[in-house]
Amino acid sequence: VNELAWVTAQSRQESRLVALHGEVDMSNSTAIFKLLASAFSNDDDGVVIDLTDTQYFDSSGILLLLRFADALDRKRQQLVMVATPGSTVSKLLDISGISAKYLRFENTSAALEALAGGRRAPAGDV
């Protein structure tokens, strides 16, 4: 995206796995959003966003996630996140309220399993 961050994406079963590496801030969040939007196809059940290798994350990243989730919602696709418990990223997700809206897992396999099992997020319950 720029020298601070890069995105890797792969297909797993019926889902897409996207990992954000490096630092996400106001300088690259728009570019990352565009990249994510182009990375998923309509065939996927959902998207797993892996933030375990994200070195820096702030409100521009949160805004990015919320916009992306909104886009997925409109296609009735599900967003699932992966973040290391106790990390600053996890805290930011908690503070911003994203954690309450979307499922978050400790690792990608748990996240993929959840998507495959068709578990729906407790959207709107909170």
Partner: protein
């Protein structure tokens, strides 16, 4: 003439060999003695009463020297005479023993080296003199005669017998009805008192009245003290033929007198004691000796009203006091209940009551310990493992002791309370937390002295003036205790009041001195005042009777840190004189520095050169110079206290200017600049704010900076200024732009993060721009 053995005496040499007499004469006169001569026993007798020592040859023309010695020993007139037996012919060990058996004090065989003769004669004379001085006792017990039990005895020098009266027999507790040979007297008289008795007899024979106190060992009644007032009996020709004497049993008086003296001694010692352990250590042995017991125990009420064994003396095992006691039955509880002194013996003594003793008590007495206002606070108990009578007077004196012991005990407790009070007062009067003047970090420590006599009066303070100058102060009020603490509080207030109007440290101290002098606080105060310029590059220093501050300049790369005491003209302490002139020294400071201001408790030890203490301080400060400010302060206090041992009050103020610890960045108003800001902040935080959650600090700082970049508009808003600094345990980050935020609530996420992840934050906007100030503390933000 040199006297080898110090004591010149009068010596009679009895020897038939003239050459031998001459030899002894020469040696003895050279040693300073007066020497008389006798060639036989007959010519010795008339002279023997006038000398201190007789040197008697074994073989004499008119008899055996051993027999002569025996007859001398049998005569009480010569009881105090020292006898040295000498012999040339008899050389076997049996002869030696015979000589001593005859009553001689020493036995030497020719040839006698003069050094042996001199040392033997000297030793014998010293022995006699020591016995004499023992007999010179105080005679202020005339009232004892009123005590009753007076009996009369007569001694007949002709028959060498004591006429036994019934009273005397009763006194001695014997049943012997006939006269007692005078020679038997020594078997009754206590060995320590024999010399005195014999001397009295000698004086009586010379026709003088004699008054003597001595101890006798009676078969039935044990050791008794006797007061004898004797007069010589003369026959019609005026020759002394005997003695008549009145004898009084003064045993109880003597014992009580000893106990009274012990009470005085105990109270004298306890009054000087500062702590309970010291008091117990001084008082209990005195009590044990005076009451002639084996163990002394002091039981006192603890704060919660329970009885404890607080101290004991004389028991087999040193008890780790205090031991809680459960006093329900027995001697101690009866004393507690009745408030009266009591004595009990084995049959009555409750095992439970004195069970804390390892030694089994056969006789015990106890009395209540009372305060001056009669409040019962404990029990003092004495116990013996053999039978001991505690008569009424002895018990009464134990009660007197108990009644007077409570006062000193209370005082000791009160001094512990006073210590706590002064510490509390002192701490109240010191600033709880100093506010860092801009670009200077502070750490302060106050450590109360070891004993209450050492607390109070030490202080520190930091005042930042409107001009931006800052004043660092550490002072010490002479005198200790609550008064010193209060005076210290006043000096601090005076200083605060005067600081704003003073032009510098000398001016400030002159003003303070005037106030102190005028107020006649009757106290002097020392003070170290460091006046920092607004840019922190210059210090003006005034020392009023105070040790100099220590300056640490950090090392650069391979150059080590330097530690120096700042020089200033030493001026008189505050309050020492109204006309004292205070002078200031100017010190140019480097960009980074650490200053230590301290009171003498940190460096001064009694009887130790101050330089030694300053050396310790310098070394400990140097070793810890790279540590954080709080760690440096702790290391210096710990290091110096260990070097000094027991310490006085300590006040310490450490100030540091660390320009590197102040991060100042200007970033261009571009989105891409945020990453660089993050790197700078991360580097700074890891070095200077290791206890702060770095990630939270980065997120918040970048949120604020992002906001500025995203939203600031207006003229001259090309850059965003970010500063980070350390304030005690907190990190403070400010982000400032020169525009206005168009819409602060654009998405709300940024502010929400700042609100949640900082300790406090403020956003202020004015015409020049918007400033976000965020404070982070070491506690991690838990969400």
């Amino acid at each position: 003439m040199k006297m080898r053995n110090g004591l010149p005496g009068k010596i009679l040499v009895v020897d038939d060999d003239a050459a031998g007499r001459e030899a002894l004469h020469r040696v003895l006169t050279r040693a300073g003695h007066t020497v008389l001569h006798a060639a036989d026993i007959a010519s010795a007798w008339p002279q023997i009463g006038t000398v201190d020592l007789a040197i008697i040859d074994v073989n004499l023309p008119d008899g055996n020297g051993l027999d002569f010695t025996r007859s001398l020993r049998a005569d009480l007139r010569y009881a105090a005479l020292a006898i040295l037996q000498i012999s040339a012919l008899a050389v076997g060990p049996t002869d030696h023993a015979d000589g001593l058996d005859s009553g001689a004090d020493a036995y030497l065989v020719h040839p006698i080296p003069s050094i042996v003769l001199n040392s033997t004669v000297g030793a014998l004379l010293r022995l006699r003199r020591a016995e004499k001085s023992l007999s010179e006792r105080d005679r202020d017990l005339r009232s004892a005669l009123d005590a009753g039990g007076v009996t009369v005895a007569r001694i007949d020098f002709q028959t060498q017998a004591i006429d036994a009266t019934e009273g005397l027999m009763a006194l001695f507790g014997t049943e012997r009805a006939s006269a007692v040979p005078l020679a038997y007297m020594d078997t009754y008289v206590h060995s320590d008192d024999r010399a005195a008795v014999h001397e009295a007899l000698r004086n009586l024979k010379l026709g003088r009245d004699e008054e003597t106190e001595f101890r006798v060992l009676t078969p039935r009644r044990g050791l008794r003290w006797i007061l004898s007032r004797a007069s010589p009996l003369r026959d019609n020709d005026g020759v002394v033929g005997g003695v008549t004497t009145t004898l009084v049993d003064i045993t109880s008086r003597r014992t009580l007198q000893g106990q009274l003296a012990a009470i005085e001694k105990v109270l004298e010692r306890t009054n000087a004691a500062l702590e309970f352990e010291e008091l117990a250590k001084r008082a209990l042995p005195e009590i044990r000796d005076a009451w002639n017991v084996d163990i002394v125990a002091l039981c006192l009420q603890s704060d919660d009203g329970r009885m404890e064994l607080s101290a004991s003396h004389g028991d087999e095992v040193e008890l780790p006091a205090p031991i809680p006691l459960n006093l329900t039955t027995g001697l101690l509880s009866r004393v507690m209940q009745t408030g009266e002194a009591k004595a009990e013996h084995s049959a009555q003594l409750s095992a439970q009551d004195l069970s804390f003793f390892r030694t089994e008590a056969v006789s015990a007495a106890a009395a209540p310990v009372l305060t001056a206002d009669g409040q019962l606070v404990g029990v003092i108990a004495v116990a013996a493992c053999t039978h001991r009578e505690f008569n009424a007077e002895s018990l009464q004196l134990l009660a007197v002791l108990g009644a007077r012991l409570g006062g000193p005990l209370r005082r000791v407790q009160a001094s512990a309370e006073q210590r706590a009070l002064v510490v509390a007062l002192q701490e109240q009067l010191l600033p709880q937390r100093t506010v860092n003047p801009s670009s200077v970090q502070l750490a302060v420590r106050y450590i109360a002295g070891s004993s209450h006599l050492d607390i109070g009066g030490d202080w520190y303070d930091c005042i930042e003036l409107a001009s931006g100058e800052a004043i660092l102060l550490v002072g010490d009020v002479t005198g200790k205790g609550a008064k010193a603490a209060v005076v210290m509080g006043r000096i601090r207030s005076f200083t605060q009041a005067l600081a704003g109007r003073a032009s510098g440290p000398a001016d400030l101290l002159s003003g303070l001195n005037q106030l102190l002098y005028r107020d006649d606080l009757a106290d002097m105060a020392t003070l170290c005042c460091v006046w920092l310029s607004a840019d922190r590059n210059l210090a003006r220093l005034t020392l009023a009777g105070h040790p100099p501050p220590l300056l640490i300049v950090p090392g650069v790369e391979s150059v080590p840190a330097t530690v120096t005491f700042l020089d200033a003209v030493p001026c008189l302490p505050l309050g020492a004189g109204s006309a004292t002139r205070y002078e200031e020294a100017k010190v140019v400071l480097p960009s980074d520095w650490t200053l230590l201001l301290y009171t003498d408790g940190l460096v001064e030890k009694r009887r130790q050169n101050l330089d030694v203490g300053l050396g310790h301080l310098s070394r400990h400060a140097s070793e810890a110079s790279t540590r954080s400010l709080g760690e440096l302060a702790d290391a210096v206090v710990r290091g110096c206290s260990d070097s000094i041992g027991q310490h006085d009050d300590i006040a310490l103020l450490v100030a540091r200017r660390h320009t590197a610890a102040l991060l100042q960045l200007r970033i261009p108003n571009q989105r891409g600049a945020i990453a660089g800001l993050r790197r700078e902040l991360r580097r700074w935080a890891e070095r200077f704010a290791p206890n702060i959650d770095t990630e939270a600090l980065l997120v918040c700082a970048c949120e604020a900076a992002s906001n500025s970049i995203q939203h600031a508009c207006g003229l001259g808003n090309e850059t965003v200024e970010v500063t980070a600094e350390i304030d005690q345990d907190d990190a403070i980050v400010t982000v400032r732009d020169s525009g206005r935020w168009r819409n602060r609530t654009s998405d709300g996420h940024g502010l929400r993060l700042i609100g949640t992840m900082t300790k406090t934050h403020t956003i202020s906007s004015d015409d020049d721009g918007t400033t976000v100030t965020m404070v982070f503390d070491s506690k991690k933000v838990e969400v």
